[in-house]
């Protein structure tokens, strides 16, 4: 076995794993605060990629302006969705809210197809192409940058949850809504904040994913991989998203290279079922105790 090749595949896997972890963070944020699995994360990620495309290639804005605008666009969509669709569904069965997000994903996908049609496109290059070498192993520059950005953002989130007032409010809401309310925490505000931040994160991840692999209306499938990550890691655990993301990224890269591309999905999904059988609430998720 060629160890250098193996190391390169592993590094590429870690790179895409970091992007998965970043997208998984969007799931975790929303689930923690509002107990909703948002299946539209993948479509918001796609929308982020397309918004960046529109701002940079369509309006000719420089990259440093287009990136924040695309991320802000994702946040605005998150805010609108939370206000208009999720808030009225409070207290409904989880499956209903889940299906609302499925419908939302469909609407977003249709809208993107309507505006930009179904052709895959490449994002304007803003990262350069000179390869990065770690030791002797070659890493694509885009994947290296993606890994670095994802790492920094996740670290930032961990710090915010620990020390920032809003982060603490979010954790309080997650652990007990009624108690958080009675302590004077603005719970509806926390809901909005979680959706805005999560959708902005997803849009940002979309720019990175799009820069590496190009954008197309079907790139929302990436969200499904990220969903596998959060289920394996535990729906309400940031640490789980990080560990699960890197794990799935590695497994996908290894399976894709050594078994063949068609084994990628089946390996991750088999891993998902195995993980669920052993730990039904994910590796780091909170075990819910049911009482009569």
């Amino acid at each position: 076995m060629d160890w250098l090749f193996f190391a390169e595949v592993t590094l590429a896997g870690l790179g895409s794993g970091a992007l998965l972890a970043l997208t998984a963070l969007a799931f975790v944020l929303i689930y923690k605060a509002t107990r909703v699995i948002n299946l539209a994360v993948g479509e918001i990620l796609m929308l982020g990629g397309y918004l960046f495309f529109a701002f940079s290639a369509g309006f000719g804005l420089p990259v440093w302006a287009a990136i924040p605008l695309a991320i802000a666009g994702g946040g605005v969509v998150g805010a609108m969705v939370e206000r208009a669709l999720i808030r009225p569904m409070l207290g409904e069965a989880p499956i209903s809210v889940f299906m609302v997000t499925v419908g939302l994903g469909s609407v977003l996908m249709g809208a993107v197809e309507l505006v930009w049609n179904t052709d895959p496109r490449a994002l304007p290059d803003f990262m350069g192409a000179t390869p990065v070498f770690i030791g002797e192993a070659y890493v694509s520059r885009k994947i290296a940058i993606g890994f670095a950005v994802a790492g920094v953002v996740i670290a930032l989130f961990l710090l915010l949850f620990r020390f920032w007032r809003g982060g603490v409010a979010l954790r309080a809401t997650a652990s007990d809504q009624a108690a958080a309310y009675s302590c004077g925490i603005n719970v509806p505000g926390v809901f909005s904040l979680a959706w805005i931040v999560a959708c902005a994160t997803a849009a940002g991840a979309g720019i990175l994913v799009g820069a590496i692999g190009g954008i197309s209306p079907t790139m929302g499938v990436f969200g499904l991989s990220a969903l596998v990550v959060v289920i394996i890691g535990g729906l309400d655990s940031v640490l789980g998203a990080l560990v699960g993301g890197l794990l799935i990224g590695l497994v996908e890269a290894w399976a894709g290279t050594f078994l063949g591309g068609e084994f990628k999905l089946v390996t991750t999904f088999s891993l998902l079922i195995a993980a669920l059988m052993i730990r039904p609430y994910g590796l780091f998720g909170t075990v819910e105790i049911e009482r009569l």
Binding site: F98, V102, L224, V228, F269
Partner: protein
């Protein structure tokens, strides 16, 4: 106003059709179903068959999701299992048509039990994700088990034959598909008058309480999975005879979402719901086509926009019903019925 409907026995109270009006409407419906193929043209007959197949599958999903409370996003994969079973039996063994369809249901039920095994440990949305995983694994099997499924190019199915008559046109198939679907809906309606059906409802309402009351959870959850995928398998078998070619892309993941959406739009946990929901969700995209044709002279690009507009309308319908009419179309029908029951009093 409905009067004089006092029941004297429990059997009368449990009956499926309790009033004379209901019986009359049922006869009207049966007549319409029998006479429809002589009136409709080929295109609408094609749609009618498609609706009937979807109703069968949606009714199955409703047993699992609406009555037992186990959310599944694998219905399309079970349909595919049924379709491939029919293709295999028809192509390799040449067994008769009705037997093939029944066998397709049994094979799908066996796969359904296998997929249902995690349901005892895994609950709620985690289970929904597990069924997504199962459907992707099945898709992988369909693509790679080339000797049985024909890989990506799929398998062709010969036209169905019954009593020496070749059933190739929608007109001929209508007389097989619609009765089978009607029979399956009737069976589902009767299921919930038995112990098994009531056990399903108890599990949906609170599974731990149901277990305390003496319902073995694993057994009944697996039974629900088996029944639901039996329905899907039969529907898939009919689908295979209807379209006569089965490929891994015939039943994409989006179809599973379609069925869950159809059950929700129709009304979870009602017999009428999946019928209305499947018909509605199948026909709306077709009606959109007419709208687009009609708009053609005004917007020349309307044809190109058809596919994305369908995607948008599909999503918007799900959202609309969940936000404004969470009980679905069945609730609207109930409201109309209540109006006539109580008329001339205000509801």
């Amino acid at each position: 106003m409905r009067i004089a409907t006092a029941k004297e026995t429990y059997i009368a109270d449990e009956g499926l059709l309790t009033t004379r009006t209901q019986r009359a409407w049922m006869i009207v419906l049966a007549l319409v179903l029998v006479l429809a193929p002589f009136v409709l043209n080929a295109y609408w007959l094609y749609l009618a068959c498609l609706v009937a197949i979807n109703v069968a599958s949606a009714t199955g999903l409703n047993i699992l999701t609406g009555y037992t409370g186990l959310v599944s996003l694998g219905q399309a994969a079970f349909m595919a299992v049924g379709a491939y079973a029919v293709a295999f039996l028809d192509g390799h063994l040449g067994t008769p048509f009705l037997l093939n369809i029944f066998a397709a249901g049994l094979v799908a039920a066996a796969v359904g039990v296998l997929v249902g095994v995690p349901s005892l440990r895994v609950k709620g949305l985690y289970l929904a994700i597990a069924t997504i995983a199962a459907s992707f694994i099945l898709h992988f099997v369909f693509t790679n088990w080339v000797s049985v499924t024909g890989g990506m190019s799929g398998v062709n199915v010969a036209p169905a034959r019954l009593f020496g008559i070749e059933l190739a046109s929608p007109f001929a198939l209508y007389f097989v598909i619609v009765p089978i679907t009607a029979l399956m809906v009737l069976a589902a309606a009767n299921l919930f008058r038995t112990r098994i059906g009531r056990a399903f409802i108890a599990i949906r309402d609170r599974d731990i309480s149901a277990e305390v009351l003496g319902i073995p959870l694993l057994q009944y959850k697996l039974m629900s999975f088996a029944l639901s995928s039996f329905y899907a398998g039969v529907a898939g078998g009919m689908w295979a005879y209807f379209f006569r070619v089965v490929t891994p892309e015939s039943f994409p993941f989006a179809t599973s979402i379609f069925f869950l959406a159809a059950v929700i739009v129709g009304g979870l946990g009602t017999i009428l719901g999946p019928i209305l929901g499947a018909a509605f969700m199948t026909l709306v995209p077709e009606l959109l086509k007419y709208v687009v044709e009609w708009l053609g002279p005004v917007f020349p690009n309307a044809g190109a926009a058809l596919s994305p507009v369908r995607t948008i309308v599909f999503g918007a319908l799900i959202i609309f019903f969940l936000v404004f009419e969470p009980q679905g179309l069945a609730e609207i029908v109930r409201r109309i019925r209540r109006f006539f029951h109580l008329w001339p009093f205000k509801t």
